[in-house]
Amino acid sequence: MINNTDAVRVIDNNREDAVIVPTMNAGNVRFGLPTVTSNQNLDLPISGAMGKASNVGLGIALAQPGRKVMVLDGDGSLLMNLGALVTTSTKAPKNFYHFLFNNGVYAVTGGQPIPGSDGVTDWQEIARGAGYAAVFSFDNLEDFTTGIGEVLAAEGPVFIHLAVEPEIENTPVQFRQRASRTAQQAYQEVTAALAGDN
């Protein structure tokens, strides 16, 4: 399995001018994108959105067809909004890259197993069946580091399954490390950056 921080670092290292929409563990301020990001102005973290990160990413991808959009999703999150896969494939944005951080647990609520985490769910088959143009899967850092170039050269919508180590967040919400900017600030900054103000 891949370490969470290593996974977001590989993605960030290859982002160029892509917008990244991370959620849950991939957006965690201690071990997610905020710890490694090289361009915070184009990071749009989504938290507590009940699985809607990919929908936000889809909207950006459709509004900005010349720019890659990378959604860093969680397995529990995507299960809350599985229809989003079909919504995405219906519009079929060529610039859309949907990374699934599959750690098998609800990490921010103490590590309870998600439905299907005992091996009954095949995420790649779900993505293919929903109509994604290309599907990849990686379970070790070396292969992911080597393969990311092929992933980002593929025409979207692309689905990338990543088997990542569970990192459990047991700290009560009020005591967790906070992001350096609010969600409102992030939205304003990314909106301004995409409008060419930055």
Binding site: A49, M50, K52, V56, G57, A63, N81, G83, Q184, V190
Partner: protein, 170 residues
């Protein structure tokens, strides 16, 4: 008599004209009976891109992304979908100050007072609870309230609802 009835309904052309007048780029929607006749006309409108979703909560999130990307979306759902989309309205519209016009089919609406449809009974209470202002559109004569909603949402950076209190005429 026939002419009076015809004139007292909302025609899809009136609504599409309002969307074009306000430079709407995308309609994020999930169909309902109130928007049935609107679908074909929107499909034929080259300046508007339709984005169908699988469940109404997605509409608010897709619209948020479109807005961040510089587009000018609206959502079009039924009042039952507003109930379903509750947490998305909270987190992605109200919390982020998204200037979004929500066109909402008003299932259960009647001027006769009593309605057996709880979707009709609850929707205005829910909008009040969230502090979301709304305008009622029943006929072509009311269509300009849509522009009022656009102006208000952009001026205040808030979602504003337009309740479509009738079924569209052909």
């Amino acid at each position: 008599m026939t002419t009076e009835v015809y004139d007292s309904i909302l025609h899809p052309a009136s609504l599409v004209a309002e969307l074009k007048k306000n430079n709407v780029s995308h309609v994020v929607w999930l169909p309902d009976s109130e928007t049935n006749f609107l679908y074909n006309m929107m499909m034929e409108e080259p300046t508007i891109d339709l984005i169908p979703v699988c469940r109404e909560g997605e509409t608010m999130a897709v619209a948020a992304g479109l807005w961040v990307g510089g587009a000018n979306p609206v959502v079009l759902i039924q009042n039952t979908g507003v109930f379903e989309a509750g947490d998305s309205i909270r987190g992605l519209c109200l919390d982020l100050n998204q200037p979004l016009v929500m066109l909402v089919g008003y299932r259960g609406w009647t001027r006769r007072g009593l309605t057996p449809d709880s979707a009709g009974r609850f929707i205005e209470h829910i909008l009040h609870a969230w502090g979301i202002n709304y305008y009622l559109v029943e006929t072509d004569d009311d269509a300009d309230r849509i522009s009022i909603a656009f102006d208000e949402s952009q001026r205040l950076n808030r979602p504003v609802a337009v309740l479509i209190g009738t079924e569209f005429g052909a």
